[in-house]
Symmetry: C2
Subunit: 702 residues, 2 copies
């Protein structure tokens, strides 16, 4: 990604405009061209507002201007709320006026047709030429809560604006932004900024992330994404947020074919391969959600939590043993440590409640019905024990009880403040008042007990991601020139060897005699394969002979293979045969590099054999990366255990595998779009200390 | 399972008692011994109530009796609410009085200590001898909503009882039952019966399921389970519910080590292997949940739905394109068919909303803000198209809008009633009034849009499960006698062969000469293995030689193997060697049978090689079962595709695999506890039409 692709400073006129013109301002307060003005009259926006309307002296009691050119002072931001037929004209007016940013609501562009796509390109070109930043088209604009900028026609944002919070939300779906704002009213979700990017003619999700990464008002970033055009830019923006230790929570839709089809007719985003998004999110420490409730739940937890937990030990206190078991399952499944309570704590609980379970979960049992003080004391004793980074409490229907609700609205915040080093997450049936009290008191509150564990697991993961040493900058080799068209196996292996990836010893031979001699020199039994850039699937055509036990057998195989290929593929160039010893032992893997239209050079790792095909057990990384990132990549294989030695097999040489992955990633990054794909299949990882060997390879230049 | 283990008729005095005595009845209305009486005074219970209290003439204005024996008439049910020290005495009183059922609240039994376990056995013995059914100890009793029986001390069930509904809920956790009742107040969840089984001294979850399967008041069964002692009884009860076409929704906790440890200190249930529960639930069409919200969501959907959908085609209508994509993903991931809308429907939508997405999801776009009639018409047109079994609608915040909320409270039920053949599932932010209106109108309402899809997927699955032909009764072979101790490979293979499971040709030989001759007769290359009941891991001790190319090599191998074993395991009996041809091709699988303490004979299937170990890709079934069930079992392997032929390999002979699984299941069932385990590893499944072969086997009698 070019260094200047992320330029958050250029977005200041969009997010913090000193003056806003509304082109297509309507005197009917219910129209799209009026709603932003209605909102901003109530929001406390302190800049200049300029309604543009050729037929009205004022709009909603604000002095109006017949044309943008008639506005006396400078205009930072113009909101364009006219039908698509008039958009190009309005954009040109903006360029002429020296407007620095545009919010373009209008639909009817790339999301509907090819003609719309061309129209969108035209208006984008106007923006580029004029060096103004364009948000939209087909978007619902943005809201900056600190500045009272409500540049949206979504009715939910008025009248008056909720207080500003710590979450910056970016969404490609406009309606989703409105929903997110409405959901927020029910819990302590408050936003610094909501940005809807629509068709992303210019400003895209990555621009928004980069801005929020630098924005002092924003501590947590939430993303709704359908796809993107430039995956490297998105990754760079996420890396910037990670470097600033800002948790990123993401709802990326378009996982399935049905979802991808729906994306195409919505914001016209390029979907991009979902599994590469997934890998990139993992690489950048992004938490990916699969439902809206998970999205808001994790965003809430991240925003409520000032200090992310430094460890994963969690205590569970419950008024229902059954729910305690459920929470223990959820905690363990999420990677939390349900560590047994210290003996002193167990004794203390048992002294209060004779039949309590005390190990963790701590079950205060039905006895709590006659004395809710038991629950309070159990929570306090557990916090005071100092053994856990988080205490989770399932409190039944306490939050709705007329007697105990008010009591615990005071109790939980007090305990939280007395033990600020420990997170306190409560789940119970509750009233809005109860929620507000716990949220204000710095506790985490959940409807569903397992969701407390899920959120804690997410917080632990964020912290671990931030604490992981950032990748060192990777130096790329000079790209070596590639010929046009596919390379044969020998040429492909030669490229690997120059890249420093270990390759099995081999010779290319031109006769039966040479073949026999090569096999005798390299070692028996031997393999022999046709060498031809025109044959991609050698064994399908009889171009491979394996397990040849003697030099004579290798010699005969040479003649047979050449004859078979001459018959089966008479047009194919026959550059001889490749002779190599049969290598046994080790674990077969598959390494690949390919150029992705969205993400650029991408590296794939899979376990060989039928794992890749039967289970799609593969993982991806954006190239380039270093050996430590390669190590993390390896851990993402579901069948990773195979590499650690099973059934008495020795552990595989993971250093050699990581080294090869990193080298391949540097090679692919240096080549860029010149390399269509490179496959090493199999890449045999030998036992620890013995290295690894590429046994076959295929390089396809673009 | 013995046919008389399920005897739901015997539970009538427990669930529908004509008279109830409360032993330990308290005059303090807040005590456990008073709460059931308080509840039943308000619940409309019409039977006789007999408080037993030696020091009061009346309890809560009900005439009391000094002892159970003093009650004039018969007592169907006695509630025992005394400390554990007095329980045995109370049980004996019940036996003497001829009480037919007991609800025992008291804790302090098997869940706390070994002494408690013995005390529990003692009271259970009293119940068995007196032929009275015992619920508990350590339980919160039960509630029968139709009869007003509130035999529980949980405070949530009073004063007054919610109207009866169609859901029977059974839980091993008492507090969970109270929670389930409280959750129900928020949505159209209404119960016919809530049963808490606690330590299950006598009445267990399976008894409850069998009762509810026959109960005309109950249409849906919801289960909270921590474990069980008799897995066959549970499976039989679930099969009964399935035969009655009653959906079963289950929250089974204790998936993880942390959860299993928590179970042990809660209701002292035997956890049982979670993966066998899982397999058994799949076999019986039970929907297993992993969170409380999923549990209540699916239970709600099943209870609201009178006619389960006959197909999986779903339409998605949305006011937010982004949420539409999310719903499409969720639908596809759940196995629903997001089939494209018919052209006429698409044209109709486009005519209303020019920029609408129309394919499915149908996105009525932000235009709906100015005219909510668009949403109404889109839903109606889609219902009228008649192409879908369900229409799901995401309606944004309609359910909270002062204007549109009331309108759609009327619209959605009206549309539902006009198109009764199509399910209508709505998700939106809403008020309790909105929920009540849609629930009453027969719609399904969800908070979270993806949960509408999840629930629909569950309903489709229930229907498919009910429509699957029930398994034919399986006839068991006469069990052949097994010797004591492990069998050697040859003896194990002989047992398989008699069971009708195909076994590779082989001979047991006693000399090098016999070995060479056998190999020449059976085919080369050959394998040779030591035969000894004392050696379980032959290759670890050098007892295996493979790929022997000539008769001479086989002869030499005989001498070498015998010599190695004589040295490595001098104590082991050496019964000769087994010679067999090397078989290649096909797909390696692993078949196993073992006796499980909870479930009895269980059959395991896994793919061979490193799949089983690296990925734990195995699945289970309770034995016996027929070939069609074996076929379903095969489909549960994650790497199932390997069996269908990959990389140009032919498809494997699934008939042969299913036949072997069914035969193995009948063999294991006939042996019962006499068979500790039987492993066939590998079981080679050859290409279609070529059958399969057991290559090695190990039978371990108990």
């Amino acid at each position: 990604m070019p260094a200047d692709a992320l330029d958050p400073a250029s977005l200041a006129p969009l997010f913090r405009p000193a003056s806003i013109a509304v082109i297509g301002a309507s005197t009917d307060a219910t129209k799209i061209g009026a709603i932003p003005l209605v909102h901003m009259k109530a929001s406390g926006y302190r800049g200049q507002l300029y309604p543009i309307n050729p037929r009205a002296a004022s709009v909603l009691d604000i002095p109006a201007f017949p044309a943008l050119g008639a506005v006396p002072g400078p205009v930072d931001l113009a909101i364009i709320a006219v039908p698509e037929a008039h958009v190009l004209r309005a954009m040109r007016d903006c360029a002429e006026k020296g407007v620095r940013a545009v919010v373009l609501f209008s639909s009817g562009f790339a999301e509907v047709s090819e003609a719309g796509r061309r129209a969108q390109e035209e208006i984008t070109a106007v923006a580029r030429t004029a060096r103004l930043r364009l948000l939209g088209p087909n978007c619902m604009g943005l809201v900056n809560f600190a500045e009272g900028v409500v540049a949206t026609f979504h009715p939910a944002f008025g009248p008056g604006l909720a207080p500003k919070g710590r979450i910056g939300l970016i969404t490609q779906s406009g309606a989703f932004g409105g929903l997110a704002y409405q959901v927020a009213q029910d819990r302590a979700l408050a936003y610094s900024l909501i940005l809807t990017t629509g068709n992303e003619g210019d400003v895209d999700v990555a621009d928004g992330i980069a801005y929020l990464a630098d924005d002092p008002e924003t501590a947590v970033i939430m993303l709704y994404i359908e796809g993107c055009r430039d995956g490297r830019k998105l990754a760079a923006a996420l890396a910037r947020a990670r470097a600033r230790r800002k948790p990123v929570v993401c709802l990326k839709v378009g996982r399935t074919e049905a979802g991808i089809a729906a994306v195409a007719s919505h914001t016209a985003a390029l979907a991009g391969a979902d599994e590469i998004f997934d890998a990139m999110f993992r690489q950048q420490g992004v938490y990916r959600c699969s439902t809206m409730e998970e999205f808001f739940d994790i965003g809430y937890a991240a925003a409520q939590t000032r200090d992310l937990p430094a460890g994963n030990r969690v205590a569970i206190i419950t008024v229902s043993g059954g729910v305690g078991v459920l929470m223990a399952d959820a905690a363990a499944a999420g990677g939390l440590d349900v560590a047994p309570a210290p003996q002193a704590l167990q004794d203390g609980i048992r002294a209060m409640v004779p039949f309590a379970a005390t190990r963790n979960p701590i079950d205060v049992t039905g006895q709590v019905v006659s004395d809710f003080g038991l629950l309070e004391r159990a929570v306090e004793m557990t916090l005071a024990a100092g053994e856990y980074q988080a205490v989770t409490c399932f409190a039944g229907s306490v939050g709705r009880s007329p007697v105990n609700g008010p009591r615990f609205m005071e109790t939980f915040p007090r305990l939280r403040q007395r033990h600020p080093e420990t997170l306190l997450a409560v789940s119970c049936y509750h009233t809005p008042q109860f929620r507000a009290a716990l949220d204000a008191g710095g506790c985490l509150l959940f409807d569903e007990p397992t969701h407390a564990q899920r959120a804690l697991a997410a917080l632990v993961r964020f912290r671990r991601g931030f604490d992981t040493a950032p990748e060192a900058a990777v130096t790329l080799p000079a790209p070596e020139p590639l010929p046009a068209g596919p390379l044969d196996e020998a040429a492909s292996l030669a490229i690997l060897a120059r890249t420093g990836i270990p390759v099995m010893p081999h010779r290319v031979v031109q006769s039966a005699g040479e073949a026999a001699a090569a096999a005798a020199a390299l070692g028996l039994p031997a393999a022999l394969k046709i060498v031809s850039p025109d044959i991609l699937h050698k064994s399908d055509l009889g171009g491979v002979a394996l397990n040849l036990a003697t030099p004579d057998a290798v010699g005969s195989a040479f003649d047979e293979v050449m004859a078979r290929i001459a018959k089966a593929a008479p047009e194919a160039r026959r550059l001889g045969c490749l002779v190599a010893p049969m290598v046994t032992g080790g674990v077969e893997t598959i390494l690949g590099a390919h150029w992705d239209a969205v993400f650029g050079p991408v590296i794939m790792l899979g376990l060989g054999g039928i794992f890749v095909e039967a289970l799609e057990d593969v993982t991806f990384r954006l190239a380039p990366f270093d050996e430590s990132e390669a190590r993390r990549m390896i851990t993402e294989l579901r069948a990773e255990r195979v590499l650690h030695g099973m059934r008495g097999q020795p552990a595989a040489d993971l250093d050699a595998l990581a080294d090869a992955l990193a080298r391949l990633s540097r090679f692919a990054a240096a080549q860029g779009p010149r390399l269509k794909s490179l496959d090493i299949n199999p890449f045999l990882v030998l036992p620890q200390g013995k290295g690894a060997l590429a046994l076959d390879a295929l390089v396809l230049p673009a």
